[in-house]
Amino acid sequence: MAATLSSVHAVVLEHRERNKKSSRADIERFIQESELKLASLESQISALIELRDRERTCVATLKDLIAPIHTLPVELLPEIFEVAIRAESHVEDALQISQVCSGWRQVSHSTPRLWTGKMWINLREDTHGDREQVYVDELKAWLLRSVPLTIPITLVLDSESINNRILDEVMRTAPRWRSLTLKMESEAPAPSFVSRLAESKLNNLEELGLLRFDKDVDRAALLSFTTAPRLRKLEILSNFLPMSMPWSRLTGLTFTSSTLTVLDILAQCPNLIQAVVRAAGWNVLPQARRDILTLSHLRTLDLRFRDGQHFVPLSDCLSAPALEELYLDFWNRETDRLFWTSAHFTAFQLRAANITQLGFEDSLLTVDDLKIAIHHAPSLTHLTLDNCGACFDDAFANALCYKPDTTPLAPNLHHFVLFRFDFGDNFTEDTLARMIVSRWWTDTELASRLVPPAVARWTHVELNGNRYLGEELADMLKDLPSDVLILL
């Protein structure tokens, strides 16, 4: 217990009074005696603190012995650890779990799958001395814990100089890379880095991301990637598209392209299952019409157009009979510049009759355009409208509204996302809420119905307006559970 100010003051007064007439020699003796007393007390306190800590440890150890958590079999711990490790913070999470006790450390260190989260490794040379040693040692230890599993790696190069000790450790794991993303933020990566990449054995590489690669530097590395026997997915965001890629093996492709080459590249990828294309739209419709390109395995297509007025030269030439998800983003378009022609889109939909998920972003679609698109997607289950104010109004909401005696639009729709919208221009909170409520029933309500409703029940409704969605809307939708309705 610490002495209070008043008790300290009292001691001062007491000793002043008592030693008023003491000689200097006496006072020096008193000081010596007091210092001895202090030393003795300090020693006793240390012993007591040690004793206290010992008893605390004793209590903790005894509690540990009977803790319910020890009823869990050791083999269940990795399952629980795995769930606790989130992708976005996997390094911190895995380390924290391994630092609880020696038992958990042993279990976690002997479970390679806990250490296979995506590693971002910056190769810059800005650590030196002891700090560099710790960095290299711990990186090495981390990478070893996932042996023999394959791992995803992202290498970031944001300066021209490379820390070769870090690079050495990373390159040792190259045969285990399942995915590799190279993020080049410097103008010119060191030639040694490129040649080492080119020499590495990428036997397990399935996914490759080349972000901001420039054509002057990377031909050797790119050639080595083409020999990776398992490469199936490629993301290349660069103005330079290498022509030596194993296009025909790819099942996933994300690329930026000019309008001239987009169809040429897709034509080389007959096995695509998923494609994300960033392209400028066509400003002038091409004179010659190409033959129809059929991508018979394509299930997901994400088209992001910039600037141009037309995208029909692409949709007119494409057939995707297995297509399930289509996302169209008319990014950065200027108002009234994009030409949407329902007839062309309908023709494309007839060649992609299995679409279940449709998404439009920054689109000038009208309500009629959207209705026609939905009408030609009879299996539609998911609809996302992001900043598409012109295609959603009260009439459209009413068309989606379920009324027992009518057949509503999109009867299978159960996942609906409306982003960046404003009430008031075309539709009201009331109409939107009524439409949403019309397609929701509790388990009990559904069980008690003799005839099931002719539309699907919502599994996900997400509304994210340009302004805060008030209490009024939340109140109108209060019957929908929070895991179904998300208001932002």
């Binding site: 440890t57 903790a60 150890t61 509690k63 540990d64 009977i66 803790a67 319910p68 958590i69 009823t71 869990l72 079999p73 269940l76 399952e79 629980i80 650890f81 769930v83 606790a84 490790i85 989130r86 976005e88 913070s89 390094v91 911190e92 999470d93 380390l95 924290q96 779990i97 630092q99 609880v100 006790c101 020696s102 038992g103 958990w104 450390r105 971002w120 910056n122 650590t127 700090r131 710790v134 960095y135 040692d137 711990e138 990186l139 230890a141 981390w142 388990d443 996900h460 559970p481 895991d483 998300i486």
Partner: protein
């Protein structure tokens, strides 16, 4: 309806779609086909089975020892459906990182029951119950694993690291911060 018999010989009539969340029971039902025969669950007690298959009917109360009371002053909102029917974290991962109130309640007050449920979930092969985020801090959105000291305190785990291991852990954390 399916008749389940617990380790303490209690019988439960449970809806088929609920019990089929258990891969073990689902497989057993597929093996025996349509039958009125009871399904024995020798590794699951009646108290555990009740907890995972039956929703509470109203506000539930728990005392500090984790016992459920019929009425009291401190109320905790009960889940609206049986825990067995809740989605697994894998299923909900894209949307939220919250720990459900049900999980939070058990982790703080009734650990014996919590671990019995985990064991039962493992035996019954119910992914949605096994794969919950027991080690995560449910107090905030987007929270990762709890810090080691908090996990130790929560579960009464003793820190048994040697000084050398402590030094190694310090280095690991330095590296993690330096990345």
């Amino acid at each position: 309806m399916v008749l389940l018999v617990t380790s303490d010989n209690e019988q439960f009539q449970t809806e088929k779609d609920i019990v089929e969340r258990s891969v073990l029971i689902k497989n057993m039902l597929e093996d025996v086909g349509e039958s009125d025969q009871p399904i024995p669950l020798p590794n699951v007690s009646s108290s555990v089975l009740k907890k995972v298959t039956q929703p509470s009917t109203g506000p539930t109360e728990i005392d500090v020892r984790g016992r459920y009371l019929s009425t009291a002053s401190t109320t905790v909102e009960s889940p609206s459906r049986p825990p067995i029917l809740e989605q697994s974290q894998d299923e909900t991962r894209k949307r939220t990182t919250d720990i459900s109130e049900w999980d939070q309640k058990f982790i703080t007050v009734d650990q014996e029951m919590l671990f019995e449920i985990i064991l039962a979930a493992n035996y019954l092969d119910i992914k949605s119950l096994l794969c919950r985020r027991w080690l995560q801090d449910g107090s905030q959105h987007d929270q990762g694993a709890r810090p080691p000291e908090e996990i130790r305190k929560l579960f009464n785990i003793v820190n048994d690291f040697t000084p050398e291991e402590e030094a190694q852990i310090k280095k690991e954390n330095e590296w993690a911060e330096d990345r």
